[in-house]
Subunit: 314 residues, 2 copies
């Protein structure tokens, strides 16, 4: 942290499995950051304020009370308070109007950004918490299709300054459970650097190169490839990763999320974004990377709009 | 066991997670049975004979040495000995010609039935061990399409007295890992009797009733249905089961395994067969149940053929 910069606020991205906080100055520059694996599922229901206070104690000690802006699952039924979902289509103003505040013991306050629901998804409305803020940080000015890889990967459409629709794919979670708890776990060796050839092979199989392909049958090819001597134990996990991300792109294509030749925005950590860039290219799309700090940018934009609206008495 | 019946042999169905042995008379009637969860994965590589001896000790004590006929993963790379796969198409004689024998310490012997491989499956040849024996026990005389639900569910085609092709779907394994290790496990309540309405709803979603459907997006509906108040915690697991079995039928249909209106044989335990009967009906198929003791019937038929071939010196 530079000594001269004046902290303005704390921005939280507090999800199911991770706690991420950044200390930000008035211009949106990051002065310091804290990341821990204390996702909301590891914090008791009454313990969120204490958990937050512990994690940002050094900042408060140095700078005094600071406003906190939070997005993600912290604003869900299993979080600090449940903020009702905004309905898609929605833009910055819609999110800003629906924020909730809570007073903190140090006389500052915390602002929770609402999640987004797409009521048009069948059989049940789809939901996101946190990704809407990243999409705002990515930018809503230009029409786009954007994928946000993760435990529950999201595909979203941006049009006319709003998030108009989205869809969830459980790719990350399924990859995690299969690689840790299936027959794979008994055979596969830990990965070092990604084996891009194995990953690309998985993508090809999911794309149906040389055969029609569904996920339940394709998944068995991790085992049969090993039995056939075509995949060694060190390649299985990357092959599986390609298979699953490829299946996500295939399903997304079947659902009309893209046509080959289109551009696709990608918002995610560097390692995840790299996997999705390669998958996008394999499916004939042009990847367009989003900013690394999309969550913070979106949080600041929505919080600033909320304060403007409150200031104008609307 | 009746006092007068004369035991003829011991038939084993020894798979990855279960040990099943039946004591059989010369007419194929079951005199006694032993089932334990001692699948091959819980037995050390050098311990198979001792494990078998312990489990069938009472039979040997009463009746002396008895020939043992075994099918399933016990004949695989991770089992007692690795019996090479027979290549599809294959009938009883093909299996009988490829059996392997090992001498046992009590002067009897154990016969291992080979598995089956379908070299035409892409991207890698498909494999089965144990199901080929169940298919023989189901009967190869009449042309049929048969599904064998399980950890790795198999769809097989029988034509002109042989198993001509087959395909594996990892439905059971994926259902197990998702229901035990995903977000579901944190919410779903244990099941009592199946909730058939929830199961049927899952089938409908997988069939794409009212929307196109892929597994990665459909799986999220377990969560969104709960969030929307449409699925309660006690229904989630049966809904998931319907979703996954429905996805298997949908993939099988896409791969050309059936056309609506056809008959489909089902070989499995009563509880599993009931799920697949309901799924088959939902997909417009006429289910035809197989015999409960298909594995034993197939094992006896192949062993008898092997002895006939050996007797004739072929």
């Amino acid at each position: 942290m530079t000594d001269t910069a004046q902290p303005h606020c704390v921005v939280l991205d507090w999800g199911t499995t991770n706690f991420r906080a950044v200390l930000v100055d008035a211009k949106g520059a990051i002065l310091d950051r804290v990341e821990t694996p204390d996702g909301i599922q590891s914090v008791p229901a009454s313990g969120f304020e204490a958990s937050l206070a512990e994690r940002i104690a050094p900042w408060r000690k140095t700078h005094g009370p600071l406003p906190v802006y939070a997005s993600g699952m912290i604003g869900s039924r299993n979080g600090w308070i449940e903020v009702p979902y905004v309905h898609a289509p929605a833009g910055i103003e819609d999110f800003a109007k629906a924020v909730r505040r809570a007073a903190l013991r140090d006389a500052s306050s915390i602002l929770f950004i609402p999640g987004l629901t797409d009521m048009s998804v069948k059989p049940f409305p789809d939901v996101m918490r946190g990704e809407e803020t990243q999409l705002v940080g990515y930018g809503l000015a230009q029409d786009a299709t954007v994928v946000l890889p993760g435990t529950h990967s999201k595909w979203a459409r941006i049009a006319q300054g709003r998030i108009t629709s989205f869809r969830t794919f459980v790719t990350g979670e399924l990859f995690g459970t299969v690689s840790r708890h299936s027959f794979l776990a008994q055979v596969a060796k830990p990965r070092g650097a990604p084996d891009w050839a194995a990953f690309a092979r998985g993508l090809d199989v999911a794309r149906g190169v040389g055969a029609s392909a569904g996920l339940l049958s394709c998944l068995f090819s991790v085992r049969t490839g090993w039995l056939a001597g075509e995949l060694d134990a060190a390649q299985m996990t990357d092959y599986l990763s390609g298979l699953m991300i490829g299946a996500e792109f295939r399903e997304a294509g079947d659902l009309g999320w893209f046509e080959p030749g289109q551009e696709i925005g990608i918002i995610g950590t560097e390692a995840m974004a790299e996997l999705y860039r390669r998958a996008a290219t394999a499916f004939g799309l042009t990847p367009r990377p989003g900013p690394a700090d999309a969550a913070m940018r979106g949080c600041l934009a929505i919080a600033a709009m909320a304060e403007r609206l409150e200031g104008s008495g609307s």
